[in-house]
Amino acid sequence: MQYFKKTPVTDHKPNSRLAWVGQGFLLILAIIVIIILAQNLIRSPSLFAQNVIDGLKLGFVYAMIALGYTMVYGIVKLINFAHGDVFMVGAFVSYYAVTRFSLHTWAKQIFPGMPDWLVILIGSLTVILLSMVVCVLLAVTIERVAYKPLRDAPRIAALITAIGVSFFLEFFGALGFVFSPRFIPYKQPFETMSWYINNGIYPITPGSMPPDGSITFSNIFLIIVIASIFVQLLLQFLVRRTKIGIAMRATAFDKPTARLMGINVDQVISFTFAIGAAFAGLGGVLYAIAYPSIHTQMGILPGLKAFVAAVLGGIGSLPGALVGALIMGQAEALTMGYISTPMRDAIAFTILIVVLLVKPTGIFGEPEKEKA
């Protein structure tokens, strides 16, 4: 984390003069936001809760992508723009696995007597695993071919390379014989089920509207939340308790010293890319299931938002990625619900800028230690 020197642009002393002007400005902003939200909460609590739930769905997907960004950035200081496209590849692989090869029902063909729910469970897991594996292979290839030769080059060269890889994946994928230039309706490996909460939880049957004041959610929402939390815990364990995790942290902290300590830095970096890509693949499949229209540029915006979420939470911090992503999700959902949908990107970035001004390293970011 030594990269961001705290730039001594302004000497931000806590009791400097006229500080109240800025604080007052931020306070007024905060009050306006709170008033808008409170007003709407009182007006229709169920609609508010609905927006929060939809925001959670978005936020947990962002969290999965943000992990890859935050880890890669933490170690090689590279904004890996191609990460969003790896996410796209994950979605496409699962699409072809389901439509071309019917991979989601392979268990049925081998064991005809298997109960349906088990077939779907095994099938969906296989599809997701396949996507993850393809994404890992792709990301490691990209890292080896494009990024590794540039490790000692100027950082901007690596960044431009990342943009180049991103363009390449998008447009190469759009060629007819690769994926497709079209928006493809995604075929889910399992059926969507939804429920509504209104003094109890009831399933929604097609053709009938849930009563007024209901809050609806679907099995996709549950799967995304569970998967995202599971991934988060898994990664925490990996980074805190395993040898490779310790190596990753050491590499992030100080590459030359880590190398002196006998850590194979190149391998650790590849491993980081691999983990990030695996989660991006998982995220891609879940995103496609939740928002079932896929095309080769689908990764750009979620990728960017996830990166913003990672910065918001404090880059390099795993819980920060989750918290940042959830904040982004809520900001977007509530903006869409109560201000206007087109403004959601603007609001998301405004929040980012305000947070960075107040806490320059993000919410969970560690303050920089000056190093010689």
Binding site: S44, L47, Q50, N51, D54, K57, L58, F171, A174, G176, S180, P181, R182, F183, I184, P185, T192, S194, Y196, I204, P206, G207, S208, M209, P210, D212, S214, T216, S218, I220, Y287, Y291, P292, S293, H295, Q297, M298, L301, E332, A333, M336, G337, S340, T341, P342
Partner: protein
């Protein structure tokens, strides 16, 4: 150094001299400007395929006025700058006199300015913005035509259908503020719907890059309208209707020709209706011949004959219109061709086409119904 300077002077001169080019005589070139990359490549591919099919058919019949037709395909990306570059390129480098394209209005407008200035005839198959054929000064651009009906008519038909056939009293409108096509349809739907005594219970905007419509759908669930008007492209429709089903919204969705695609998610959009230029199920001979020819020439991913959508049909019509006009004019002369176009009566796939004073075609609209098994022909509405 001095040699280098001399060399550069020579190069500048040679550049200036070499820019002149020549063209062959016994062929007529038609440029197809389509968004093959960029935000909507599907539209570009379909447009290109439809136009190329028409050209191939004419060539098989011996060309137009005995001249072979040479298509020149350019990628205009549905974005103003590349579109202008593409138009300049085909006009200046390839000496093209006839342009089919673009799909998107925001690309067709700069092309139309260039084409009209250079006296090149342009027929846009699908750009619905009035500014494509009419300049800012209110004057009709002489050389610019289109093959599709414009937004007012389609919005009106949608509203009429919702009220009369579906008996709707209340409607909710979802629109992409940034898309003139969507905005135009929504505006005229709203106008016709309220004028006929209906109420618009809500109007919400989103952007074309959105994938999550839950906030808007939550409002729809609260407002409980009879119909939801969503005149956007199929990719948005797939997402919105899918999420609407998850939220248990039962009101039927109504849309415009943007819904028409083989990639429309039938399961999600089932129960919806949309207005369109044509239906592949229409039994008219023009339609059936076109569908057959298209399917014979193009195959989809799994090798089955491709079913042409409205974009392909309109591109096919636009190209046929252009070639028919060239034939009527009797010469490869844009001035005569544009005069021939204003007088043309053409039986196309999308109906019988004649042009009004603003170079907009006068023709009928088709209403289609989406069911789980496919898109079904519902009815035809005449202007």
């Amino acid at each position: 150094m001095r040699t280098f300077k001399f060399l550069s002077l020579v190069l500048v001169v040679s550049l200036l001299l070499s820019a002149c080019g020549g063209g062959a005589s016994k062929e007529v070139k038609i440029a197809i400007l389509a968004p093959l990359s960029g935000p909507v490549p599907t539209f570009g591919v379909m447009t290109r395929d439809g136009a190329l099919l028409a050209i191939e058919e004419w060539n098989a019949k011996g060309g137009v006025n005995g001249m072979k037709i040479v298509p020149i395909v350019e990628d205009s990306q549905c974005t103003p700058d590349p579109a202008a570059n593409a138009a300049n390129k085909v006009i200046d480098q390839d000496k093209v006199h006839y342009i089919i394209g673009e799909v998107c209005s925001k690309a067709s407008i700069p092309i139309s300015d260039i084409a009209n200035g250079k006296k090149v005839v342009q027929i846009s198959p699908t750009s619905t913005n009035p500014s494509v054929t009419v300049g800012t000064d209110g004057k009709v651009k002489d050389y610019i035509f289109r093959a599709c009906f414009i937004d007012p008519f389609q919005g009106q038909v949608g509203a009429k259908f919702a009220m009369e056939k579906l008996g709707a009293k209340t409607a909710f409108i979802m629109l992409d503020q940034a898309n003139d096509y969507v905005k135009g349809l929504a505006e005229f739907f709203e106008k016709s719907f309220t004028e006929a005594g209906g109420t618009i219970v809500g109007k919400e905007t989103y952007t074309s890059t959105d994938t999550d419509f839950s906030a808007i759908l939550a409002k729809i669930a609260e407002a409980k309208p009879d119909v939801v008007y969503l005149p956007d492209y199929y990719n948005i429709v797939n997402l919105a209707t899918k999420q609407a089903k998850e939220k248990g919204i039962t009101a039927p969705f109504i849309g415009g020709d943007g819904w028409d695609s083989s990639d429309l998610d039938l399961a999600a959009a089932a129960g919806g209706y949309f207005t369109n230029h044509y239906s592949p199920e229409d039994t008219r001979a023009e339609v059936q011949n076109f569908v057959k020819a298209f399917g014979a020439k193009y195959k989809d991913d799994s090798g089955n004959p491709k079913v042409p959508d409205a974009l392909a049909a309109l591109a096919y019509d636009a190209t046929n219109l252009m070639l028919q006009a060239i034939k009527d004019a009797g010469a490869d002369d844009p001035t005569k061709v544009k005069d021939a176009l204003t007088k043309i009566t053409f039986n196309g796939v999308s109906g019988k086409i004649t042009y009004d004073a603003s170079h907009n075609p006068v023709k009928s609209a088709t209403i289609l119904e989406v069911t789980k098994d496919g898109i079904k022909f519902n009815s035809v509405v005449n202007p």
